[in-house]
Symmetry: C2
Subunit: 310 residues, 2 copies
Amino acid sequence: MEAVNRSDIEKQINQKAREIEQIITKYLPKEEGYQKTVIEAMHYSVLAGGKRLRPMLMQETYRMCGGRGSVVEPFMAAMEMIHTYSLVHDDLPAMDNDEYRRGRKTTHIVYGEGMAVLAGDALLNYAFETAMKAFDSCKVDDIPLTERYMAVAQALSVLAKKAGIYGMIGGQTADIEAENSEAVNEEQLLFIHKHKTAALIEASMMVGAILAGASEETVKQMEKCAGNIGIAFQIQDDILDITGDTQTLGKAVGSDEKNHKQTYVTLRGMEQAAKEVEALSKEAVSILKNCTGDSTFLENLTEYLIDRNK
Amino acid sequence: MEAVNRSDIEKQINQKAREIEQIITKYLPKEEGYQKTVIEAMHYSVLAGGKRLRPMLMQETYRMCGGRGSVVEPFMAAMEMIHTYSLVHDDLPAMDNDEYRRGRKTTHIVYGEGMAVLAGDALLNYAFETAMKAFDSCKVDDIPLTERYMAVAQALSVLAKKAGIYGMIGGQTADIEAENSEAVNEEQLLFIHKHKTAALIEASMMVGAILAGASEETVKQMEKCAGNIGIAFQIQDDILDITGDTQTLGKAVGSDEKNHKQTYVTLRGMEQAAKEVEALSKEAVSILKNCTGDSTFLENLTEYLIDRNK
């Protein structure tokens, strides 16, 4: 692999993010009817910007595994809707009570708390409605293809599991409880990272592979790779909370210390944390290199995400 | 049809409700792991009692349409989880702010607001995880059956649509907005009833028919029948709010007038409302009578639900 300039990668990522945003927008419901307000709140929260990392990983894994066609698109939109609903509910006064996200007012500040609860519910529900649209592409010339039905059904199940109590919601539950407890041990912390942060990344890469018709073994490898990326990303976040500067990060640093929040860094020390990030990242890249398809972009993306200063 | 005693019907309904409760309980996740608290909150809210009307309508429609076997069971559990999550979120301080439901403390009073938001999310997500388990029964002796995959996929899509912005959530949105507005017209009110109350009842009967392999025409008839039941049930609720007595109903009457809430009765008058309930109910029963299978219980259930004094 040729060494690629970091700013070149960034340009590629931003270009892809814009393309993905068009796909997501296409799948959002029209802002009309008596339910117009909740749909406006859905648009407001989904179109708040961001790197579109999860759908990007899904699309690129799909391509790497030989996937062609548009069956992955409704799943990409669904993934971003699930990620967004989790932020809308996380920001609520009953949860993190955040008034701003990415420099914009959060959904409940603009639309009110009741409507924000509903908009989050609507996004989660509409994510499944959207992903189920992939069933429409399971017929060719009106002949139903059992294999495709099975692949879409499997992808749906993975999406649902990784978003739920055995995935992201499980991690959020453990996180809320950790905040209310005196001490957090390493096992708990890894559970939180693996579920709250890594689960949707795992689902993204697994769904991409499944829809491309990859083998069970490849799907497993993608789960492992994505798990490493997710945990490394999270530990790097904790490191930057100590070593980063506010201007580069665009957010306050030292918040973990201020909130007496236990992190991998406070538990194991900075040196060990940095080593762990490197090991996880290396393993992720090595899994990608072992794949049959062209993994160049996914490798670059992985390194870009983990080896960052913001 | 023989005339059946109202208390005999009630006994039958209660017996069936207990059987359905066992099915639902079987599909609830185990209360263990770091996510134990959110799962406890899920159990607490789902197992709060109730007539289990929606899964009952689903199971009976499935039977009437010739359905055998257990493919309907995960969908019955999923339906009750969706109904329950909507109550948990409705009861939140940001929504209706209710501290009691059926004589028990509401979920956010027991588990806190943050955990109640999460428990609602978890129930909605787990509903889809649960319904997707029906895909497991799409293979016979390991041979995948395309027709069954298609039926389960269609049932999932109906469930998702009727629960979302074009169903229940759409109705909740319109309801919140109606509460904040001076005047509500009849079109708006019918939209609210049809979506907030009737949509999940429609989904219940449609899913039952689809999973039994009923024709498209029968599925449409079930949607119409269920829509009538849902709207008649709601208008009857508004009538009882005026004519009922607190002791029989087990809740305060006159609350609509006190809250200056527009209802079908305030818009069209008591006589017209009563006529409407009777017409809707008659049409529902007549649709059931036209079905090929044995519709006796469903007819009795319909009349029981609508012709009530509590």
